[in-house]
Amino acid sequence: MANIEIRSVSKEFKTGKVLDRISLSAEDGEIVAIFGPSGSGKTVLLRLVAGVEQPDEGRILLGGRDVTDQAPETRSVGMAFQNFALFPHMSAFDNVASALTAHKVPRDIIRAKVEKVATLLKIEHVLGHAPRELSNGQKQRTALARALVAEPKILLLDDPLRNVDAKLRYEMRLELPSLLKASGSTVLYVTQDYKEAMALGDRIAVLSDRDFAQIARPAEIYGGPATINVASLFGDPTINLMPVEPLASSAGQKIGIGGAALSLPPGYAHMAGKPCVLGLRAENIFVEDTASPESVPVEVVAVTPLNERTLLLLRTNDGREILASEAGTNEAPRRHGAAFARFDAESVLLFDPASGRRIAPQAA
């Protein structure tokens, strides 16, 4: 067993409270992505688990053992932090191998293990170099290799791809999960990139405002974000948010946008007459040339390709700006001007404007 349990942990610095009674548990072999904007306390959390910082209150259990008062070196935790912390007088190879030499592993096994992890991280060609001869991306991967090679039961990774260039970063995003799974480690993986969090995490813990706003599987967070803030942190382009006020009608709850009345899915009767924030993702808006029931007349203001999608900036009669995105890259010019937007009612999200929390539909 090497699970992680963080129980109601708080940490305060002179500048203020960073973490306020947060709890998180990671199962044996699970990868939990800790995601949040910079300054949200992600690194502090890792440092608490590593034992480099002490919590003001709360307990930390690793593999069922309370380690809150234990020294870092007794916790069997592997780490790769942002400040690479490589030994400057050792080659990249020796830096990686240093994680094993302390454990009296035979030389040929050390060499095989180091080379294997170096190949996966694409640094095999620079193993003979000293740290000062490495680029930042290579330093970061060397530090990551050192953390991985010892196959620690618990692995803490602090934004390990941050300084890696975009292309390599993308490749690593594809390859890291199987590498981490193969190590069998339980992993806390800090990142500021929502795509990385979704790609790598079995679950994502979204850290915001000193606490976890949501801890769930990637698809659950994307499809059912707990708050407006979480909804805005996931998705490219960012989710459309607009103030609305559902009205009761004979055919269920409706919301008015740009002169059209749209039906809400069942379960929102309790929201009639109350101001809400409507959240609608760009890919759930369909732009069509002809009107259909419940479509909203819009003006297509701009058509901009976004990878293999096309992004449309729409303006409604009541002046709202909405981003829609379509799969494929239909050629642009004909699409400017008047059109109709149809919303996928099933994917509509409603939030409470005061608390920012998502309003769940109620069972009939």
């Binding site: 993308y170 594809l174 999960p177 979704m198 790609a199 203001v301 990878n307 999608r309 890259t329």
Partner: protein, 374 residues
Amino acid sequence: MSEAALTIKSVDKIYEGRGKGPVHAVKNLDMDVQRGEIVALLGSSGCGKTSTLRMIAGFEEVTRGDIVLEGRRVNQMPPARRKVAMAFEGYSLYPPLTVRDNIAFALKSARTSAKDVQRSVADVAHILEIEPILDRYPSSISGGEQQRASLARALVRQADLYLLDEPMGQLEPRLRAVLRGRLKSLLVDRRMTAIFVTHDQTEANALADRVAVMEGGVLQQFASQKDLRERPANLFVATFVGEPPMNVFEARVSNGDRVQFAIENGPTLDFSDSEVSAKVRSAIGRREKVVIGVRPHAVRLGVGSGDARVVSNQWLGDQSHLAMEVAGKLMVAVSHAPIPAKVGEHLQFGVSASDLHVFDVSTSEALSHGLEAA
């Protein structure tokens, strides 16, 4: 519309380095920009895009060749006389003036009526969402706000050409997506001719009618984003443009009764005579080796003669990225729906002849795209 606003003729830029040897930053560049056209100079740092922009603006001397603006050769003309509006680094806001006065400054000196100045400033401030900072001084606003203020100052001017350096660089994603749309709409509505520099292909594709891809001081291809995607001129463009980039493999080719591409230590893509056009067969000719490429969105899964192990399968909310191991390399497939495949399992894949790109193995130049010769 077919009148050139700008012609760049055989332009070289060589910087005489101190101590070090000279640096050839731009090599024999030929480019035409039409009136009303929006053009992006796209490339990584050091590719020559910024040197090109600065030569057009007049901040850098042209080493060889000519720059012709609206029919006038401007090589020796000082920047202020070129009728060019600029928003870029090193051309910062005047610190003693408020943002409003900075934007209005260029208009006032052109003897515009006070009412028109006021309206132009209000319009552009609304579009770029800088109304709240109009009465503040440059030193008290953020980098992203300075960038937008500088962009606004360029856009209100009457000019033959607008030169913009990374216009949306420092903005948060939501604002960037919306402002890109508004900026494009403004440029198109007013039929402004604009050239902007960026290292971000999303920005280039979003704003530009045509994109000039530069690398090593050399213009690699100058085309619409559709052509860059469907007809990349060479392997550099093929693997630089597109997110994720094109999958490419070296393959032995046999161009006989059937057309076969055998990837070393990997599968063979096998096409019948009727699948591959005669034009493509003659473009490949008698080559023994070529590089073949397929875009991640065009990889067909579950069918075909290829067999590969799934390395990862990642759902990002609106698209899936599936990585497979093929011939010791990663091959990526992207789909707008979730892909039902587990890590470790084997999956068949195929490429239809209409999605296959073929490149010369030594020159890297494109030979064919789909069913057409390059």
